[in-house]
């Protein structure tokens, strides 16, 4: 496994401007503040089980900045940062994790993106299918899919890569290698030396990158997307990072991993690291930091206020999206809901048939 660079690179990455870095930094700081807030909401009973992305902000932001609007993003569940950069609001991300399907009403660049995927690795083959569709229309776009390190053990992962290699699909897969799949460390997941090498058997390019270096993530993903858009085939990118949080708010990582390892990982965490790089190049002042923190706090607070003020759906709403047309059994079940929750304002009885 690659050791992540301990030291801050003293030189700026090639072809990356200070402005770009400042912008990436602002996104990462926002996502970190947001993530912290959502965990806090969960602790006070205002949020359901939530998978923090603490420590992996560079991956999500790097991907989000590399994707173009007409590419398609196929997320897993730890993709808050990329979703946000695709135009999904912080409020909507909270809605999804607060247990409300309406959070999936994606707009902006995300309007054609798939919803968050919880059954591990199943999204991999969807991405291959999306890539087939893009390719069939000769639309010079690419599909980008993410997954965790644990996901690489699933058949779906290998099946999707095999096909993407075989059919030279315009697909990019980024593995968020945060070293853990709940309590299972990577060395108990696979005997492979790297996850990137899983690309070899699929006949595609595989690269391992430092997932805590946002510029490196951006450049690797951008290169792979350009290649895919040009019809030059798929790429597997292993972004090495570390899950600094518990697996989700329902997990307690102290049961299975040493604090020492976590503390070491904090030394290399991506936000601080980028901040040091900016400082080293006189690209960031305390005033800028304060202004950023202030604007981030406001953005997060506004999103939380909006989230908390969304009323629940009427009791019959979940019955209305099952098929394009209302079916007789479901129409009957809607009428039962009206009896069960008479005090509720029910949504308009669109499509409800009398039985």
């Amino acid at each position: 496994m690659t050791q992540l660079k301990k030291q801050v690179a003293s030189t700026l990455p090639a072809n990356i401007s200070l402005d770009w870095l400042r912008s990436a930094y602002s996104h990462m700081v926002l996502i970190r503040a947001f993530d912290k807030k959502v965990v806090a909401l969960q602790r006070t009973g205002q949020m359901r089980t939530y998978p923090s992305c603490l420590g992996q902000e560079a991956i999500g932001v790097g991907i989000g900045l590399a994707l173009q609007d007409n590419d398609v993003f196929v997320p897993y569940y730890r993709d808050q940062a990329t979703l946000f950069l695709r135009g999904v609001s912080l409020t909507q991300i909270m809605q999804v994790w607060g247990g409300d399907e309406r959070g999936h009403l994606f707009e902006g660049a995300a309007r054609r993106d798939l919803p968050l995927c919880i059954p591990i690795a199943t999204q991999m083959t969807h991405a291959a299918g999306v890539a087939i569709a893009l390719k069939s229309r000769a639309e010079h776009q690419a599909c980008l899919v993410t997954c965790g390190d644990g996901a690489t053990s699933k058949g779906d992962f290998s099946e999707a890569l095999n096909l993407a290699g075989l059919w030279q699909l315009p697909m990019v897969c980024v593995i968020n290698n945060n070293q853990w799949a709940i309590s299972v460390p990577l060395h108990k997941q696979t005997a492979c030396q790297t996850l990137a090498q899983k690309a070899v058997a699929a006949g595609m390019e595989g690269v391992q990158i430092d997932g805590n270096d946002v510029a490196e993530v951006y450049q690797a993903v951008d290169r792979a997307l350009t290649k895919a858009r040009q019809g030059k085939g798929p790429t597997l990118i292993e972004a090495v990072s570390y899950r600094l949080s518990d697996h989700t708010t329902a997990d307690d990582a102290t049961r299975y991993r040493d604090l020492e390892q976590v503390n070491n990982a904090w030394e290399r965490e991506p936000v601080k690291r980028l901040q040091s790089l900016l400082h080293a190049h006189q690209g960031w002042s305390p005033e800028q930091e304060n202004a950023l923190l202030e604007s981030v706090r406001k953005q997060v607070d506004d999103a939380v206020t909006a989230y908390l003020s969304i009323p629940p759906q009427p009791a019959d709403e979940f019955l209305k999206y099952q098929f394009a047309e209302m079916t007789t059994p479901l129409a009957l079940q809607i009428s039962w809901q009206h009896e069960r929750f008479p005090e509720h304002e029910t949504s308009d009885s669109n499509g409800v048939q009398k039985s």
């Binding site: 359901r48 089980t49 569940y77 999804v96 994790w97 607060g98 247990g99 409300d100 399907e101 919880i118 059954p119 591990i120 644990g150 996901a151 053990s153 699933k154 058949g155 779906d156 799949a181 709940i182 309590s183 299972v184 108990k188 997941q189 696979t190 329902a250 997990d251 049961r255 299975y256 629940p312 759906q313 009791a315 019959d316 709403e317 979940f318 019955l319 099952q322 059994p329 479901l330 079940q333 809901q337 069960r340 929750f341």
Partner: protein, 342 residues
């Protein structure tokens, strides 16, 4: 009282009585089975070091070692497939699928191999494995963590599907499932993992599979359920009793194969039948029981069978799941319809 201390004292005190939750009863049964039979092996995602995400396999790795408690890579088809291989060759794997919503990748192995190994080899090989999976809604878990899809599996010939509804039955039924020479899907209603404590005697005694349990006797109406919904069903029975209606309450426990003897005997006696399931309405176990009651007890029925069920949709995300789950009030209303009071 200290449950952990009592549990850790192990086999020496054979008849120790523990006041434990259902999930602790699962652990107790696993420990008992592993102690009495060295071929029993526990495997799955996060079951060893972490003791399972619900702690059902807590401490087993410490007690029995990593050769008998295996953290597997993340792959359900593999977990089911290796369990089949192990089971055909002298081991008794007890595999955990972390949530029932993630069992589908394993379905091919379960349906195409585990459930038919005995039949297709004409008894030369068999498949004594147990797959445990927590299931059902009501704990506010994320998408795919809350469905009740037991009927999909009950439809598979050759597969036993067993669902406990209390600590005592979890202990006794799991022991019998592990000792059974055929594959058993053991579904654990996670909403009631910790809601009640019961005295469980660690006697090593199993409870019978393929047998319903009558939890309450009454002459007026038969209430049938299984799993977490047993609790709402019993609440409904209590409310009915306060109004002078005495319910016979049956916990189906093994939903496949079904013990229709107990059910039919009760329905013939009461003449009224309400079946309660958390699962989606169509094509469920309630439908199967209802059909069998129609076949075997129709002349005794004084009013149509009623089903109280979930809806024909996925379980809503947690904010709205209470809209989906049947309640004791729903059950009472169905009973009122059956009794002709509304």
């Amino acid at each position: 009282m200290s449950v952990t201390r009592a549990v850790n004292s192990g086999l020496s005190d054979i008849n120790t009585v523990h006041e434990i939750t259902m999930v602790e009863a699962v652990t107790l049964a696993l420990r008992r089975a592993m102690t009495e039979d060295p071929t029993v092996v526990v495997l799955g995602e996060d079951v060893a070091t972490n003791g399972g995400v619900f702690r059902a396999t807590e401490n087993l790795k410490t007690e029995f070692g990593f050769k008998r408690v295996l953290d597997t890579p993340l792959a359900e088809s593999m977990i089911a497939g290796i369990s089949i291989g192990m089971a055909t060759h002298g081991m008794r794997p007890v595999a955990e699928i972390q949530f029932m919503g993630f069992i589908f990748a394993a379905m091919e192995q379960i349906v195409c191999h585990a459930a038919r190994m005995r039949n297709r080899t004409r008894g030369r090989l068999h498949c004594p494995l147990v797959i445990r999976a927590p299931f059902g809604g009501g704990i506010g878990a994320p998408e795919h963590h809350s469905e009740s899809t037991e009927a999909l599996f009950a439809h598979i010939p050759g597969l036993r599907v067993v669902i406990p509804s209390s600590p005592v039955r979890a202990y006794g039924l799991l022991l019998s499932a592990i000792r059974n020479p055929d594959p058993v899907l053991f579904l654990e209603p996670k909403r009631i993992y910790r809601i009640v404590r019961q005295r469980v005697v660690d006697s090593g005694k199993g409870l019978p599979l393929d047998t319903c349990f009558t939890l309450r006797q009454g002459d007026d109406i038969t209430l049938i359920s299984w799993g977490a919904m047993m609790h709402e069903t019993l609440q409904a029975a209590t409310q009915l009793q306060q109004r002078g209606v005495n319910a016979d309450v049956i916990d189906v426990a093994t939903i496949s194969p079904l013990d229709m003897t107990t059910i039919v005997r009760s329905v013939r006696h009461t003449g009224r039948c309400v079946i309660v399931q958390e699962a989606a309405r169509s094509g469920g176990i309630a439908s199967e029981i209802s059909a069998r009651v129609a076949e075997e007890a129709m002349p005794w029925l004084q009013s149509p069978v009623q089903r109280v069920t979930g809806f024909d949709t996925p379980m809503p995300y947690p904010r709205h799941e209470h809209y989906y789950l049947p309640t004791a009030a729903d059950i009472v209303r169905a009973c009122e319809r059956t009794l002709g009071v509304i």
